[in-house]
């Protein structure tokens, strides 16, 4: 038990030759990443070291930085709103700290064309990052988070159930378990119709303990489905440390019995996430079957809402009355914040001379304004009509009111 608490200890990582080379490349480029995670199951790269970020254009790299910033400021703006605006009604689960995972994975996907053409992603109860990285309109998202009639899902979803079929964002899910199984069903349909799409399921460390985890990987491996399971191991499921529900230090080890690649990646470094995602996507698209990716990451806020946070400050360090099982030590939060995904991406791009510090600052200011404008737009949107609650039960018509007797 004792050494399970250091599951993310950085000095304990064994580096593979390819990881060392990646570090060397990054060192040359002056990138911010200090560490790299290796996988027990090495991918045969056939002379390729798998550093696919080398092939990205400046525009693609700049877009990745924009996406990370957009997630960061969308959420920070909503944290402040929850803390200071008593009229705000959203119930949000913040993703801040994990931005590089959604951004790196979705950068390796096709994000246009609807469910018959786009790559599909299944999200969690912490969906903002996935939705934004896939390309969802943040104005409509912000309106949905505050239950407005013109929101992304017309006020029926709220944060925990947002979806945007048009770009292959299959939706957030408030439950732990069924999501990945459903995602393999989409992958099965894609394989059956030969449409060359891939399906990514995002899930937290808590999903490992569900029977659905086995069901999804077993069937995906048996049927060689174009399916990628991205575990975002942020150490805590709800209020419990993952060592309470997983007997292994690295959840990626769970791939071995299915005979599929299990890859561990530094979830704070968007380039490394992109590299492993690209390898998995290429493999899935080529009909070679699923991959399990475990991104080691961290959330800067508590499970739900903004308890312990202060307006204008990044992160929550204070007391969360709901965290009875496991408290996140303030030093653990601050430790992870020293390897911030925004800083790492910014430093990498500056080191690669894709942008300079002034351009990075200008991008951040513009995105901050874009988010403020989106949230201001959302604030002005109309509320839902009560009787519309009887609609959208079936494709046709509406059901009867029964609450009046």
């Amino acid at each position: 038990m004792a050494n399970r608490n250091d599951a993310h200890a950085r000095d304990a990582q064994q580096k593979s030759p390819s990881a060392t080379r990646r570090n060397f490349l990054q060192g040359l480029a002056g990138a911010g990443a200090a560490i790299s995670f290796s996988s027990k199951i090495a991918n045969a790269q056939q002379g390729e070291i798998g550093y696919w970020a080398k092939d990205l254009t400046d525009a693609q790299l700049t877009n990745m930085f924009s996406t990370i910033l957009r997630i960061r400021w969308y959420e920070r703006t909503l944290v402040d709103k929850m803390l200071t605006d008593s009229n705000y009604r959203g119930y949000n689960h913040f993703y801040v700290g994990q931005e590089a995972v959604a951004t790196g994975v979705c950068a390796a996907l096709k994000n246009t064309g609807g469910v018959m053409e786009a790559d599909l992603i299944y999200s969690t109860h912490r969906p903002s990052g996935h939705a934004i990285a896939k390309g969802t309109d943040i104005k409509k998202m912000a309106a949905e988070y505050d239950f407005r009639a013109t929101g992304l899902n017309k006020g029926y979803a709220g944060e925990m159930h947002i979806s945007d079929k048009s770009i292959g964002f299959m939706g957030a899910d408030g439950m732990i378990g069924p999501g990945p199984v459903i995602a393999t069903g989409s992958a099965f349909a894609i394989r059956a119709r030969g449409s060359k799409q891939v399906v990514v399921n995002f899930g937290g460390d808590g999903t490992y303990a569900t029977p659905h985890f086995h069901s999804a990987l077993n069937n995906a491996a048996l049927l060689k489905l174009p399916f990628i399971y991205v575990i975002e191991n942020n150490l805590y499921h709800q209020y419990a440390h993952y060592s309470w529900s997983c007997p292994m230090k690295d959840i990626a080890e769970a791939a071995a019995p299915y005979g599929i690649p299990g890859v561990i990646v530094d979830g704070q470094d968007v380039m490394q996430v992109y590299n492993v995602a690209k390898t998995a996507v290429d493999r899935a698209r080529a009909g070679q079957g699923p991959t399990l990716i475990e991104a080691k990451t961290y959330r800067y806020y508590n499970h739900w809402g903004a308890p312990g946070a202060k307006p204008g400050e990044l992160g929550a360090f204070g007391y969360d009355p709901l965290a009875i099982s496991s408290f996140r030590p303030e030093r653990e939060v601050r430790d992870w914040m020293t390897r911030d995904p925004v800083d790492i991406c910014r430093n990498t791009l500056i080191g690669w001379k894709v942008i300079d510090a002034a351009k990075a600052a200008a991008m951040e200011a513009a995105i901050k304004q874009e988010v403020l404008d989106a949230v201001a737009w959302a604030d002005k949107q109309p509320f839902c009509k009560p009787e519309d609650g009887l609609k959208n039960v079936f494709v046709e018509g509406s059901v009867l009111p029964r609450q009046f007797g």
Binding site: Y156, G158, V393
Partner: protein, 323 residues
Amino acid sequence: MARKSFMYSVLEAVQYEMREDKNMIWIFELTPPVASNPGRPVINLETEFGRLRVVNTGIDENWMAGCVLGAGLAGSKAATYIPYQGACMPFQMIQNHAGKLRSMTGGDASMPVVFIMEMTGQTAGFAGQHSDYEIDTYYAHIAGVKTVIPSTPADAKGMMASAIRDPNPVVFLYAAGLRELVEEVPDEQYLTPLDKAAVRTTGSDITIVSSGAGMPEVLDAAEKLQKAGMKVEAIDLRSLKPIDTETLVKSVQKTKRLLTFDQSYYTLCPGAEVIARVAENVSGAKFKRIAFPDAPPPAAPEMFNWMRPNADHIVAAAKKFVA
């Protein structure tokens, strides 16, 4: 005797039984078996009984329910507290296994187990998966499992004690909306029957029947109606399986008007069963149901709060009914 909260009352009963029976186990996720109450010692089952008997699991309600069932079959008393986001995940364990094993073993199986199933507080904004209240209908339908739904802290304590001592599997529906309720609850252990409804107010004009989180709305409405001169008999079902048909029939024979109130979906809501049983036994009575429409609860408070049955709906329906 002291004023105690709903959770404190439940855990007081469990603590007593776990002290009496050193084999009894408790499985939880998210909701630790911890409660405090002014002037009373803090109850913490995890620290008092240790992690051999009390375990915080992963998010795996299927295992939670299976674990206590297996413990029961092996001869130990067992209980699990399943929070509302997972309240239907273990359905198969309860419906197809716990519910059928006594019959399939020719009466041999031992199942002194309690599945505490949390029902949502019907909070506007939580949306679809975290705000509907439908599980009373699902679990009450299972043969071979007793399904109870206390609406007061005192009943919760007495019914929890009875549920643990009952040799049958019991689904103990815990309405999260009642968490804040506080009332005088005896300190000593006592048993409240698992098959008797409670008549909360007596009257001869109309019978209003509900359960669980519906009861505070009914009592609120009954008070308003009584002030307006209507004599209301308010009945708290307390048990959905078995249903106390006798108490219901006796009341409606007197009032000839039965209004049921549920936060569950309209179709097959507990009130539908109540009306059917009374209709079989009372002639010349009139019936009316209030329930949540057959629609998943939407996120927006404007829609959800309009759809959620409340005390005003009861008052209006009762006035129309009796007029």
